[in-house]
Amino acid sequence: MTVPRFVHLHRSAMMLLALWLIYWCATRLKWDWLPLYWHNGLIQAGLRNTVLIFAISWTAGLLLGTLLGLAQAIGPIYAAAPSRVYCTIMRGTPLLLQLWLIYFGLGSLFPQIPWIRNSGAWVYLREGWPFAVLSLSLCFAAYEGEVLRGALRSVPKGQLEAAKAFGMSPSMQLRRVWLPQAFHLALPTLGGDAILLLKSTPLVATVAVKDLFFVSDQVRQDTFIVYEPLIALAVMYVFFAGIVALCFRWLERRVPNRSLGG
């Protein structure tokens, strides 16, 4: 007779331990700062900024990455070589360095250019988030460019020949057959990379963007509490990463794998 999985002794022990740990954290640690920072709106602002920065740079990065991937997979040499170099450079240097180069570098350059100072965009260019979004997008695009280059190349040749045999124009082949199948092939990697992007968003706090990490830093500086804000932060990110992972799992299930049998 097989024992159902949920009565396994060690699993039950782990569950009890986890419950005890949650109880211990809830009762023994200090959480009195939570309502305070909820009421003054900092936590909500942090949540909003983290989600917005993630969403914008994911979208922009994926678009640019698709172009980079296409340029490397089917583009002529004068498009393929620069995007290759771009991907190598961006993937070979730390994101923090790129972020600081863009924020401090461009940030020190812009005030010296009169037409930028006098334009309407200047209000935004004095803040950190345009630079944060720009550098996250540029870096993410380099990673996605590599992923999509590989995916575009591994779409089965028969599919493209069939598309051609149907008399599709090159752009239609790309739109209806090549790109959709490449994205589907790349979905597991794209999902992993989206979580990597999410996990690199706290870096934007170093250029004074008020994201979740910035808020937890603020709490730690105000109250001298060491662990609790960090634990709360970690739980938040695990929660977000779970949502992203679920979204990608749902996307993967939407298309049955058999369609790639060719």
Partner: protein, 251 residues
């Protein structure tokens, strides 16, 4: 355009902000690079030890060990590195000292470099565990069975058969991990470790030559990544020597 760049480079050299001796920051950048490489090498060695232990536990361990290791790898991979580094930065020295005090020994002080290595080692150890687990599983079963038939002990089977063959499978993943580890060291700049990215920021801030310094240290990071890519490619060729070439159908 080219004259402008040449003039700028000439300006940089004559002003000497990149020169190696103290008025210039070149020497400080190289020291920062040395710190980065030291921390990442130490962390990598810790991660390899953790990875081998973790992968062995995940494959051969009992249900309890497997569950605990899953908690370790899942949690570490789901939380941002920056947050983990902050938590571990406070927690690791405290836990070690508590253990030392509990076993009747004196507390020890940790140098920032050692803390950096430990923290980063624990983080990339989780990734290393997964890489090694996949690589060990990929070693053909006939090999370990043959070793068993030869009457090798568990230790000899691990050291002579599984680990050397696993290495060839693990090296591509290990190379990726090394590259991301060198870049993760930059995160230590946020908590004030004196490594390349932080030195760069200080140099750029005090000379106001942002592009010069950030591009210069970008080149240093690229140099490290290009050189280590070559090194790992060589190591993989060496680890695969004598193995049948599958790709060209010459099995």
């Amino acid at each position: 355009m080219i004259e402008n760049i040449a003039a700028y480079l000439d300006h940089v050299v004559s002003q000497g902000i990149l020169s190696l001796s103290p008025p210039g920051w070149g020497g400080a950048l190289l020291v920062g690079l040395l710190h980065t490489i030291t921390i990442v090498s130490g962390a990598y060695i810790i991660a390899i030890v953790l990875g081998i232990l973790g992968a062995t536990g995940k494959i051969y361990g009992g249900p309890l060990i497997r569950d605990w290791l899953s908690v370790y790898t899942t949690l570490i991979r789901a939380v941002p590195e920056l947050v983990l580094i902050l938590i571990l930065f406070y927690a690791v020295p405290k836990i070690i000292n508590d253990l030392l005090v509990a076993s009747g020994l004196a507390r020890i002080g940790f140098s920032p470099t050692v803390v950096g290595m430990l923290v980063l080692g624990v983080v990339i150890g989780a990734y290393m565990t997964e890489i090694f687990r996949g690589a060990i599983i990929a070693v053909s079963r006939g090999q370990t069975e043959a070793a068993l038939a030869f009457g090798m002990s568990t230790y000899h089977r691990a050291v002579r058969i599984t680990l050397p063959q696993m290495l060839a499978n693990a090296l591509p993943g290990m190379a990726n991990l090394w590259l991301s580890a060198t870049k993760d060291t930059a995160l230590l700049a946020v908590i004030g470790f004196n490594e390349l990215t932080l030195v760069t920021k200080q140099a750029a801030g005090s000379t106001r030559a942002f592009f010069t310094f950030f591009i210069a240290s970008g080149c240093l990071y690229l140099l490290v990544s290009v050189l280590s890519t070559q090194l790992f490619a060589w190591a993989e060729r060496r680890a695969r020597r004598g193995a049948p070439e599958i790709r060209r159908g010459k099995v």
